[in-house]
């Protein structure tokens, strides 16, 4: 029998943790430096999303190794795993899954606590900045590694005056895994 999946709290307790300040301030400093170097806000948005994607493709291994989560039966379960276990394990917070469409292929993840944005205020010159694009990129990257192509976009952002952080996760297609793997490649 494989070990039972851990609860979010147990999972978070099992990883090495640090003070969130170093993470939050480092991310803020990176965004600020990218704004200086890339000049265009839209380019910064793309870069943050790409960085998140790259990070997601790596973090998913650590998540699978530590969480004991087995294959999800459907996208609804996947969304719950991200919200209750994925966010918890890495950021120490959970998200709420809501606003499912009829097909069960797109939903919203709503964050009440968002460690990315402590101490952050956007100046007027950065109004188009999608500050949290790193997070949406991480989810897209992580899901692609487990054969799900998704589109993840922000629909509410407190930095831009909304009342919560909400991202829309849309399953584009399930990529069939190449199986069985050949040994002699």
């Amino acid at each position: 029998m494989p070990p039972a999946p851990k609860s979010g709290d147990a999972l978070f307790a099992s990883v090495d943790r640090v003070n969130a300040e170093l993470f939050t301030l480092t991310y803020g400093a990176i965004v600020r430096q990218l704004l200086t170097d890339l000049e265009e806000v839209e380019e910064v948005n793309k870069q943050l999303d790409q960085m998140g994607y790259n990070i997601g493709t790596r973090l998913v291994d650590e998540f699978l190794a530590k969480s004991n989560v087995s294959r999800c039966v459907d996208f609804k379960e996947t969304a719950d795993v991200i919200a209750k276990l994925g966010f918890k394990m890495f950021l120490g917070v959970t998200a709420t899954v809501t606003n499912w469409d009829a097909e069960g292929t797109s939903c919203s993840l709503v964050l009440e606590d968002n460690p990315l944005v402590d101490f952050v205020e956007l100046p007027d010159t950065c109004q188009g900045l999608q500050y949290c694009n790193l997070l949406s990129g991480v989810i897209r990257g992580a899901l692609e590694m487990v054969s799900m192509k998704t589109e993840v976009t922000w629909v509410r952002d407190m930095l831009r005056g909304d009342d919560a952080y909400e991202m829309r996760v849309k399953l584009i297609k399930q990529v069939p895994e190449e199986y069985p793997y050949k040994d002699d490649d």
Binding site: V15, R17, V18, L22, T26, A29, M51, P115, D118, L134
Partner: protein
């Protein structure tokens, strides 16, 4: 509030990759300056926060000790292992197992143990370069923290004994 250590590591590594790979691939010295600048800003802000409720440091050595103990512990959950000084404004802070070196730079070697000798030499080169670039970040952290404490200085890193790493602080007079 706490988060997983791997988030910090991932963001730092990815930042280094972005600056060395895409943005300034042909200009490593510019990439280095950007990475150091990001570290500087973070170090400056962190030392402001960590020293809010303390009396001012009486001299340079007290401030350096704060970096070795409190500041390092907040960041890496351990203290600097060894501190040396020439008593003329140069301090050498040695971390015997610097976290970002134990996690990162050795990966390319272990993952490619079966590649040909030429390949691993080239890979070793890239790994060493990435490591060098990565170290501009903690150098910036230290310089930012000390600058915030009113001590202008330059900071360089010496990684001749991996995974130990020494940071050389030269105080500007």
């Amino acid at each position: 509030m706490a988060i997983a250590e791997s988030c910090v590591d991932a963001v730092v590594m990815e930042m280094v990759a972005v600056y060395c790979g895409g943005l300034y691939a042909a200009k490593p010295e510019l990439a280095a300056r950007r990475i150091e600048a990001i570290g500087f800003q973070v170090g400056h802000q962190l030392s402001e926060r960590y020293t809010m409720e303390r009396p001012r440091f009486s001299d340079h050595l007290e401030a350096i000790k704060f970096i070795c103990k409190d500041f390092w512990s907040e960041l890496f959950k351990k203290q600097i292992d060894n501190l040396k000084t020439n008593h003329r404004g140069t301090f050498v802070l040695q971390d015997n197992r610097f976290r970002w070196l134990t996690r990162v730079s050795l990966d390319p070697y272990t993952e490619n143990t079966d590649s040909t000798e030429n390949d691993s030499a080239a890979l070793g080169d890239t790994a060493a370069q990435t490591t060098t670039m990565l170290l501009y970040f903690p150098c910036g952290l230290i310089r930012g923290a000390l600058t915030n404490l009113g001590i202008p200085c330059s900071v360089s890193a010496d990684m001749s004994n991996l995974p130990a790493c020494s940071f050389v602080v030269r105080i500007k007079t």
